[in-house]
Symmetry: D2
Subunit: 141 residues, 4 copies
């Protein structure tokens, strides 16, 4: 494991511990590296919309969390500025979704990250793109 990967893992674990949402949604860190993260989350009943599939807000929330860990991976405090998501396939009740975030570009303080959400069978559930802004300071001690 590289030093960069170790740092990324430590940032992700610290943010997960510190935030209210990750534990509430029972998010698991599957992998973390520089500009990269892969998370998983099981779709609970309290994450379903009125049509019985995963609420778009929860799909976004999972992707946004992966995005946050990836864009903070160098331990420079970085916040989301904007994001967009395309919903391709419903997330099913009970399945474990995986969100994989990858840095696409970094220019000065601005970064662009792509996040793909996969279903348990490997199908693509949603495509997310986020724009981050580094605001200085460190994410973890």
């Amino acid at each position: 494991m590289t030093e960069a990967a170790k740092l990324a893992r430590r940032v992700a674990e610290t943010l997960l511990t510190r935030e209210g949402t990750g534990p509430a949604w029972d998010i698991q860190i599957e992998a973390a590296d520089e500009g990269y993260s892969r998370l998983s989350m099981r779709v609970r009943d309290d994450m379903l919309n009125g049509y019985g599939s995963t609420h778009g807000g929860m799909l976004f929330a999972l992707a946004d969390t992966a995005f946050a860990y990836a864009c903070n991976s160098r331990n420079i405090t970085t916040v989301a500025q904007s994001a967009s998501i395309v919903f391709l396939d419903p997330g099913k009740p009970g399945e474990r979704l995986v969100a994989e975030a990858q840095e696409k570009s970094l220019k000065g303080r601005t970064g662009v990250y792509g996040v793909t959400i996969f279903g348990e069978d490997g199908r693509v559930v949603a495509e997310f793109q986020g724009v981050s802004r580094a605001i200085g300071g460190t994410a973890v001690e």
Copy 2:
């Protein structure tokens, strides 16, 4: 209250009852009308990110819920296809956020909705734009 507003209110209340998320997040319906909804949600500790402000996923989730009620307001089953959000100001712990969704355009099966999230003091916290697709059938009986 017009018939259209009564129907929109009934759709919103039914979706809120039926979905797992709205009750879990304790979302309140402040108003509902044709192509319109206004919701509120108090920011709880389990909705905070690692920097102590409202998680972007929860801001999106609130806006997405308002969007869903607005685009289903005519009682035609309608799903979100894509959405984008711009984060302007942090949502504070404990404050009651308001999301106001308005239909901007409707063309065939496709609708475009704008949602603004306001803080308790009236400042704009986020701007959301969603694209919906009507898939037929009724949202509620």
Copy 3:
């Protein structure tokens, strides 16, 4: 006409003169005010896509120009950071399209603008949302 509207008009006219694109596309300024602009452009044959309707790039270009005039209207140099567009109805060959840009939110250096493109018959052709960033300095002397 208010002083703010006069300044916005002067900024729009100066940018239009200075840029290569506006004159190349024969863009007309219909109105300009603080945080606002309304432009028109006739769809020429060299603006059509392979299916005979207005190229998405030209729809975006028109909206982006309206956005630029609106976000520079206070004479503070401001650049586009990101934007999204939803295509609702084809732009027809020969018709005069109108793009109306309105400021939705402004927070610090960041602004959010909505632009609607209308066809000659008033139908909505596209909905655009742009995020701007003020970088300081004046847009015009």
Copy 4:
């Protein structure tokens, strides 16, 4: 060259010939394959904004063209439904920009494509994401 690549090349060349915009902007096809295209365009003076760099509309237009060729590459008529772009670095006067479009996901009639615009020195100028919808029929004979 595979049959799929030959077809993609033929679709791209036909669309380029048929559309008004590609020839007007002097777009060159560098490569084409299934779900993929790479185009280049030199930044002319009539493509500059009021601050002397490439107009955001022209960056979008180039990316949107690459997106169109990629999403029509299987010779099924496909249109853009929505798109978003993040501007990272100015496009310089006179430089040859390259846009590379890649299919990220395809589900039923809906596709998601990423397009990166590179400057002549390889830096990333913009990141684009487009959503397409297949409407049936063939793009070329």
